[in-house]
Point group: C2
């Protein structure tokens, strides 16, 4: 069986877990703490990023965007109406733009700060950067999150799913990021009704269930984290 | 004719300019100063990243990775032996991994610091963050560059081109990043002979010529910047 190196607080890992589950593909999950710089993990992926997908022939595919393209080329292409990357080139470009938006831009502006300061620093030894959260980093992230939520709300108000008529990778990339932030109680759902409606629809899909059961040591999710009606 | 919004000190823009030129595709170049947050540019790409490729039907394709996939699907696929993204899925994954390495990881570790501190801050008004370079950011970037150069050297020593036997997007992504840093004189070529040999080969390709003629206001390139024998 393939293996997925992931972390429950990695938005990019969540994206790939959702895609695998949506396509009924199984994989053994291995939780990786990238800051430990494990030699065997660096041999798989010298960039030390998550997720890494290791296929049945032990080839390592590194990084969410690369794994998503690999899955599309080898499995998605046979899914017809259920394919999560559209057939048409401009639509593919729009899906990819949004995947990058949620997994690169939102990661840089928001997610990495909140996850690092609130979760990873609790788990890291002091010599690797562990310790108390940096309040300036938290403030920056919380200022940026409002802009990102407004954009998500605009997409959800103007389109059926985030990239257009159909459910695509864009929705699962967004769900990966949003569910991570929601675990930490960082999202004010009351301010963005369309985004909330979209998240309710995606949250009720069976592929979301394993993620809603995720627990990270030393930090519990907000009370509404797994509720479909939040 | 298509339009490419770019900046001469954007490694990702250079990557796409090289690919367009290698495929003999023409585009009007528009230099964009993203920190100005021009309303018309944000309407094209709300992420405010470069490059943006606007095709003949005025569709905007945003971000180097997305543009590269779009070009491959619409033009590269007809190039047979000259195609810069291989046909085989695992090889495609390796090319994409390296494109992300040079345009995301190296950008985050090295390029954005050096370009921002040494170039953009000279061009930005003070209220947008302009001013004297931050010496701590420069030190961080210069420490990181050595690791990146060692990895490039390893790739160049063990493979004909960076992703394997054939010239691919990986080489042009690396050339986009390396030529930006070389303009600024930040690369010590004497320490990495295999990387130097690889760069000499790519530098002598006709597609590199326009980039070697690039000049940025208020900062001149190092003397060897355009020399094929450096």
């Amino acid at each position: 069986m393939p293996t997925l190196y992931h972390h429950p607080m990695s938005a990019a890992s969540r994206f790939i877990r959702l895609v695998l589950s949506e396509y009924d593909m199984e994989a053994d999950l291995i939780e990786e703490r990238t800051w430990e710089q494990r030699r065997d993990f660096l041999a798989l992926n010298p960039a030390a990023t998550l997720p890494v997908y290791v296929d049945d022939s032990l080839h390592a595919i590194c990084g969410a965007g690369v794994v998503a393209e690999f899955i599309d080329e080898n499995f998605g292409v046979f899914k017809r109406d259920m394919r999560l990357l559209p057939d048409e080139s401009l639509q593919r470009a729009e899906v990819r733009r949004l995947v990058d938006w949620f997994l690169i831009k939102m990661e840089q502006d928001v997610t990495r700060y909140l996850v690092r300061e609130r979760v990873f620093k609790l788990l890291m030894p002091k010599e690797n950067g562990g310790g108390a959260p940096d309040s300036k980093a938290l403030r920056t992230a919380r200022a940026n999150i409002r802009q990102h939520m407004r954009y998500l709300d605009w997409l959800a108000a103007n389109r059926n799913w985030l990239a257009g008529e159909k459910l695509t990778y864009a929705d699962f990339a967004a769900a990966g990021a949003l569910s991570t932030l929601d675990y930490l109680g960082e999202i004010k759902w009351g301010e963005t009704a369309h985004a909330k409606d979209w998240y309710q629809r995606i949250k009720s899909r069976p592929c979301m269930r394993p993620l809603l059961g995720d627990r990270v040591s030393r930090i519990s999710p907000v009370s509404h984290y797994a509720d479909l009606d939040f």
